[in-house]
Structures are given as structure tokens and as C-alpha cells.
């Protein structure tokens, strides 16, 4: 398809979608209106289950099964990235070179690192009380660890970040969520049903299974993000093609059609 044809297809398609969207938007509930049938019921249910953060209650109690699906997508994406970016047979690893970091940057990063990791863990732990939870806190804690790369260099990060450990933690988080669901079955309830005692409203030990599932997600997301970033950092910094001429597989693949061409 030439650029001209492509732009025409885009223009026609875009216009069609725009018209359909505009038609749909005029029939939507008014922005900022008071009619929220699901929201009202979800808040009432969250209060009944002693969960101060209604969003966490929706995610890990009322729609816990759905979150299991989301988590599976997360796990699958991490797994796929690891498979796609693994070190190929024609590549080798080089030792990353130590880098010079100016003293103020180093001091600031080293100072902020523990604070940020702690913030991430706090956000995970208080997911059922205040805004936050496993998904957000996991990302915060995992990216905080990479301040080590800014503060010192890649070798320091490599030493702290045991990939085996984090891969296992990723799998353990995924498995933990499933096991918590199965535990409800053993207790004689439905899969992923909230069976634990509900505790006192607005304290750390409240909302039954919500903190448990939240912690499982937190572990999985934190470990998964570390593993993901490790794949990209390895590709950008330490993995090099083996021979000086590169593209072994590519050379072989490209030679065939060229040879067959008249």
C-alpha cells in the first residue's frame, strides 16, 4: 500500500470512527452526574466487608476472579518478554564498564533509594486502607531498586538483583493468588471468596482476604517489573553479537532469497 492509499484509508476510517464516537457520546450519562448504580452498590459492599479503600475491595474481593485474569496477562507478558529477549546462541555477554557518577548525584540517589523502596512497600501494605495497593506499590518498589544503577553502576545493580530469586518471586506471587483462591474452596466457600475474619474497620488486619491477595499481587508485580527491566538493561548494556560481522542468522536468511533472484 502506498503512502497515498494508506492516508486515504486512515482518513475514511478515522472519520467513520469519529462520527460513531460522536453519536455515542451524545447518549452517554452526563459527565459528573449522580447516577452510578454500580458504584453505589460497590461502596456499600466494601463497607460491609470492612474494606476502607473501596477500589481495593472491588479489585481483590468483588472482582477478585477478574483480577486473577489481569494478573495472568501480566505474568504472560513478562514471560513472553523474557523468552523474546533471552540471550541467543550467537550472542555473548560483555562485562559492563564502570561509569563515573558525580558525587551529588551519587549521594542523592543513595539517600533516596531506601526511602523509595520503603514507600513502595508501605503502599503495598496499606492497599486496603489508603490509595495504593499491590499494582502501584510493586512498580514503585521495583523501579526504586534501579536507582542503584544511577547511584553506582550496572555491576552494583547486577550484584543486588539476583534474577533467579526475582523470577521465583514472580511465580510465587502468581501461585499465591491461585492458592488463596483454592484455600477458600477448602474452607467450603466459592473460589476466591472472602472467607477470613473481617477484622476492625480501617486497621491493617481488616477486610479479610483483601490484604492477602493484595500482597500476592504486590510480590508478583514488583518481581515482574524487576525481571522485565533486567531483560531490557541486559540487551542495552551487556549482550553483544558474537562475531565482529554480526547477524549470523540474518545473513543466512538473507542469502537465500538473494541467491534465488535472477
Amino acid at each position: 500500500m502506498s503512502l497515498r492509499v494508506r492516508m486515504w484509508v486512515l482518513a475514511v476510517g478515522g472519520l467513520g470512527v469519529a462520527l460513531l464516537l460522536a453519536g455515542a457520546f451524545t447518549h452517554m450519562p452526563d459527565f459528573g452526574g449522580t447516577w452510578h448504580p454500580y458504584g453505589t452498590r460497590a461502596v456499600a459492599e466494601a463497607l460491609r466487608q470492612h474494606s476502607a479503600n473501596a477500589v481495593a475491595s472491588v479489585n481483590f474481593d468483588q472482582r477478585a476472579f477478574d483480577t486473577m485474569g489481569e494478573q495472568a496477562v501480566f505474568f504472560g507478558s513478562v514471560l513472553g518478554t523474557v523468552v523474546v529477549l533471552r540471550q541467543a546462541g550467537d550472542e555473548h555477554r560483555t562485562a559492563p564498564e564502570p561509569a563515573f557518577v558525580s558525587a551529588p548525584v551519587r549521594r542523592y540517589a543513595l539517600l533516596v533509594l531506601p526511602v523509595t523502596v520503603l514507600t513502595g512497600l508501605y503502599v503495598i501494605a496499606h492497599g486496603h486502607l489508603s490509595p495504593g495497593g499491590g499494582f502501584q506499590g510493586g512498580v514503585v518498589a521495583a523501579t526504586a531498586l534501579h536507582l542503584l544503577y544511577i547511584a553506582i553502576d550496572y555491576r552494583a545493580l547486577q550484584r543486588v538483583r539476583s534474577l533467579t530469586l526475582f523470577t521465583l518471586a514472580d511465580a510465587a506471587g502468581e501461585a499465591g493468588y491461585l492458592l488463596a483462591g483454592l484455600a477458600a474452596l477448602v474452607a467450603g466457600a466459592a473460589f476466591l471468596e472472602n472467607v477470613l475474619p473481617l477484622g476492625t474497620f480501617n486497621t491493617l488486619s481488616s477486610a479479610g482476604t483483601v490484604p492477602v491477595l493484595n500482597a500476592a499481587v504486590g510480590v508478583e508485580v514488583a518481581a515482574g517489573v524487576v525481571v522485565l527491566l533486567a531483560q531490557f538493561l541486559d540487551q542495552a548494556i551487556v549482550i553483544e553479537p558474537a562475531d565482529g560481522r554480526g547477524h549470523r542468522a540474518d545473513g543466512a536468511a538473507r542469502a537465500a532469497p538473494e541467491g534465488g533472484r535472477p
Binding site: G32, N53, V55, A56, V123, P131, G132, G133, F135, Q136, V139, V140, T143, H146, V225, L228, L229, F232, L233, Q235, A236, P241, R245, G246, H247
Partner: protein, 90 residues
Amino acid sequence: MAGELPVMAALLLVAVAGTAVVLARDPVRQSAVLAGLGLSLAVLFAVLQAPDVALSELAVGTAFTPLMVLLSVRKVRHNARRSERREEHE
């Protein structure tokens, strides 16, 4: 209506930032603009009373995604240079 002003301003900011991301053709510059979009989305979610989502967008949109884009650009440029050298070699 005056109470709506922050929401409207944040919405317009998001629209502008989204357009800027698409128009930034250089991937390195795009990663910086993408972080800007993440930040403006986080502001919008905060004024829409969704702190949970704002927190999540702040962590993902301003740090995680741009970082991955930058690392990919570095690797891709490295590969492109190698490919050019190889073609000269042949």
C-alpha cells in the same frame, strides 16, 4: 461550574500532551514527551478523585515506560550501526 475548571484544564493538558507524543517523531524525544503525558494523566486522575489510578499512572507512565523506550532505542541504534558497518564490509 468554577469547580470544574481544574478538570477541564487537566483534560486539555492531556489532549495536548497526547498529540505531542504522536508528533514527536524521534523516539528519544518521544520518551520524554511520553513521560509528560504520564504526568498530565496523573494530574487528571487526581482531580477526577481517583488517587489509586493517579499513583499507578505516575509510577508506570513517568518512570517505567519511558525507561523501557530509551533502553530499546539504545539497543536498536546499536543494531542499526552494526548492520551498516556490515554492509560496508561486504
